[in-house]
Amino acid sequence: MELRVENLRASLGGARVLRGPSFDARGPSFIGLVGPNGAGKTTLIRAVANLIPFEGNISLDGMDVGAIEPRARARKIAYLAQGAESHWPLSVERIVALGRLPHLEPFRAPVPSDEVAIERAMELADVTRFRDRDVLTLSGGERARALLARALAVEAELLLVDEPVASLDPYHQLGVMEVLRTYVDQGRMVIAVLHDLSLAARYCDRLILLDEGQIRADGAPAEVLTAETLRSVYRVEALIGGEGRSFHVMPVKRVE
């Protein structure tokens, strides 16, 4: 799978949010999209999911994403919105089953392969235990995993997730990152918007640092998260240490 983003430009409410970022990505790969608030991270993945109008080119395996028929596109690109919620008290299993909607033939019931995908997604996100529980009565961590399972059930080649670990405790943060890592290791691509730089560095193969709608750094986590970029982009002094799975970044002081 190859994703190509070229000279992407998009505006929100008249303000230009994306100022021409370009990058290529080849799967399998876990890409962390990092950057300060308002950098355009969410807008970028919403453009890739074709949820907002944009200028420039986004293509998947050489095909313009806007030109792919919506249901076919929905099978290739899954999207998990930030703070996604269910409006009705559906059971976890039914929520996860919604991920199979792009695969269903019109007027036909789900087929065995859909059932298998639902089971697999619930297993991966570790929500099988409470498959019959009402999703609205779950704790925040359990609910986040159930909604993540919904996105996994699409079994798309490209999964876009917007701040999947925000508002989760450390245990559930690690849990979600491990799920995403496993999904990538099964041969797919994940692009995740992340604010926790240590988590991003430890689980992602590659980080793209966005600032004011432009890419400021792109590469292996340790190359992107340097004292210099943290100072100039995030405007913080940070302690950086460790390597690989123990790499960590701790912001200690704002730069005046």
């Binding site: 949820l51 919506p70 249901r71 996604a84 269910s86 008290p89 909607l101």
Partner: protein, 332 residues
């Protein structure tokens, strides 16, 4: 909730609706049964009984079935579309538009011309208010815009209806308008049933075609779009379908409130709250409830028959209040 349970729920509701349908054909004022007369010895009695059955009772029962199913199904669909349990088919303004169209027919004294003028006026009113809704809210309106535009149209058409009432030249027209507005199945002919049915069927089909989209909307508009559903198409089909079906229903029977609000609520827990699975049982439940209410208004032996729309609102409004109280208790 397995498939077998879902089948059983639908089967149960269908049997209930069928039972009330048959009762609606045979039961008359004060609970008098028609069966005896159908087998009467006297030839004239027998043919009179058959005439009542075919020309009076059958259209009435058919309207109960069709209008009840329409209101139940469109109510369920709109609640799913707007992701709001307090939505009902009247919300988008088509039913008050239909009411205004029909009232204008009475106002200009055209109702006496043909039994078809009132339903024609009603459907025209519904279509015009749908057109205005479309112009006000644009191609892919937000949920809030849709609701606000619907409320504005409802308020405006209701005001025009009141204006027609206050300016009506003859007391007879006022009397006719008021009685029609209260909603009823009495004295409707097969012609009217035949006129309204295609609109209701088309509308219900359009609305039903959004079923999976409504499921996807459970997780919000962005997620639904990312699952391959075009928002503007789902909204257009649900709103136009509801407008056609409910507009046609109102144009024949007058305004019948609360069925579209209450029935989906009663059914929702039975089907695990899933919007797509709610459609069919809501239609069956709506038919059963409206047929039952129409039997209820026939029970008093003497005096004028209570109007159906009044009875459904009398039962529906307290339920609505209970719903609000429950929602408030559940809210954090």
């Amino acid at each position: 909730m397995r498939n077998r349970d879902y089948l059983l729920i639908n089967l149960g509701l269908a049997l209930l609706a069928a039972g009330f349908f048959i009762a609606s054909i045979y039961v008359g004022r004060g609970g008098e049964l028609l069966v005896a007369k159908l087998h009467a010895i006297d030839e004239t009695d027998r043919s009179l009984a058959w005439l009542i059955l075919k020309e009076v009772r059958l259209p009435r029962a058919l309207l109960g079935l069709l209008v009840g199913a329409t209101l139940g199904l469109t109510g369920a669909a709109l609640q799913g579309l707007l992701r709001n349990p307090l939505a009902e088919p009247g919300l988008i303004g088509a039913s008050s538009g239909a009411a205004l169209g029909a009232v204008l027919v009475f106002y200009f004294g055209l109702a006496a011309g043909s039994a078809m003028f009132v339903p024609l006026g009603g459907v025209a009113g519904a279509l015009i208010s749908l057109g205005i809704l479309y112009m006000l809210s644009g191609r892919n309106p937000s949920i809030v815009t849709l609701i606000l535009a619907g409320v504005a149209i409802s308020a405006f058409t209701s005001a025009l209806t009141s204006l027609a009432l206050s300016l009506a030249a003859s007391p007879y027209a006022v009397y006719e308008i008021i009685f029609w507005l209260l909603g009823s199945f009495t004295d409707r002919s097969m012609d009217q049933v035949r006129f309204a049915t295609p609109f209701m069927v088309l509308g219900v089909l359009l609305v039903s075609s959004t079923a999976r989209g409504l499921d996807a909307l459970t997780l919000g508009e962005d997620t639904a779009a990312s699952l391959g559903f075009r928002q503007e198409s789902i909204k257009a089909r649900a709103v136009i379908g509801t407008g056609l079906a409910v507009g046609a229903a109102v144009s024949v029977t007058g305004v019948i409130g609360f069925v579209g609000l209450v029935v989906p609520h009663l059914v929702r827990p039975l089907v695990g709250h899933q919007p797509a699975k709610l459609l069919l049982p809501s239609a069956l439940g709506g038919a059963a409830m409206l047929l039952a209410a129409d039997l209820l208004v026939r029970l008093p032996m003497n005096g004028p028959e209570p109007k159906l729309g009044v009875v459904t609102s009398l039962i529906g409004a307290p339920f609505f209040l209970w719903l609000i109280l429950r929602t408030r208790r559940e809210a954090p």
